[in-house]
Symmetry: D2
């Protein structure tokens, strides 16, 4: 098993550096980082809910993109600039009253492009996904400290 | 020219009712609503920016989905439940130091499904789009007051 | 284990009825149909290749949509009209000199909408996918004989 | 007005070189090529139709990708290898009994990536699109003769 280029500790420590304050406001928790994989959780949260207590789709898309950043850093040979090129998100069912979990997996990691796939589900219901996202990133030069 | 089923005044008055607090935190402004069209603005904003002052892609996706809701309400015969089914977003260039504007247009409004197309660009640069999103919504029954 | 509503025999027997002659020209083979799943193969084929012997991306998209139709029929309570609403396809690597295989899985089967996910890979290389597609279908009334 | 890097004559002359025989079987006609733009037509055709005389969605996706190749070559500084990275296609309405036309436009042409947007409509109905596709291409080195 290949080792992750990103440790769980570093992932958690860098949230405030890597993401905008507005993303940090989602209170997302990094639960796991492995080589080519990350699992994040967004606690059930009034802030992210529209009328009827349904988590807004915008939060689901944001979670997918954010989770994939960790998965991407887990496979890169060194810290590099990455930029989202394309994200396609499908929404299967409403998310309400439960934490939302996102599992992000790298599908293909190339020299200049990186592809990933996210599954989104409510806590305790991994077999009934709430949505799915596929993402394409451009991989650039080394990241500036 | 068909009249919009949603007035600019109602659009502005209902932001807090239709969207999650986290979306309201984006400080988005509804600039125009016409039949099948809405234009929204997100002011340049540290909250939405990651390192380097670049607006996060998550905010761009969220803006597109939000703008399309207004465009959708402008064509529906009565207030109805709508749910995002699919959003495909492409990111052309970085957004930095300028307001981000989104123009949302309805491509097809059917009885049960609605399709739309968003162009995202920095203030003053409509001819150099920063991104594009296509969206699919499911249209449901009348919205509860 | 839930039984497939479509048998492998019926799947194979109906290719000429369900698909356009141009799709039949791909020589696709239905290898497996289970509840919520179908696996199809397109033999390596000069007809589908552009210069350099690379299978054209158009064939990969077509295979994904076609495979998902079988997966959809495997979960529907009765033969129904279905229509592709949205397909998002990512291309990871070139396909050349080998059969292309597509595994299509239903992600969510609702009353009016159906979602699926396809993985495309070259024969013998399931761990190195060549592409991925997510699909949304609208489910309609019973299919006319 | 910037001149197209691809003439209409060259576009038409190279169909058999640039595309797989299976794509040539669609009988597509290049109607216009300008800088950043191409318009292609697929004649109404039994080969491309499934039961009920409806043009198959696979043909619509294939047409979009093919049209965008011409649009791409119209903006590149020299003939280069390009590869489709992602295509997101939405299907608005059925196409039946009429030619299908695709207008492909380049949204952003960068050094290594190229983005485009296609509108698909039935002959004589440009104001009622049948579908839309957004595409991402990777741009590589000079094309080998």
């Amino acid at each position: 098993m290949t080792q992750s280029a990103l440790s769980l500790e570093d992932a958690r420590a860098n949230i405030s550096e890597w993401f905008a304050p507005w993303i940090q406001d989602m209170d997302l928790q990094v639960e796991a980082v492995e080589h080519g994989f990350a699992r994040l959780r967004v606690p059930a949260n009034e802030k992210l809910s529209r009328m009827g207590g349904i988590m807004c789709g915008q939060a689901m898309m944001a979670l997918a993109d954010t989770a994939m950043v960790f998965a991407a850093f887990s496979v890169l040979d060194q810290p590099r600039e990455i930029a989202t090129v394309q994200q396609s998100t499908s929404f299967f069912r409403a998310v309400a009253g439960k934490d939302l979990i996102c599992e992000a997996r790298i599908s293909k990691s190339g020299r200049t492009m990186l592809f990933g796939d996210c599954t989104l589900y409510m806590d305790g219901q991994p077999e009934k996904p709430a949505g799915q996202a596929t993402l394409v990133y451009a991989v650039g030069g080394p990241r500036q400290a």
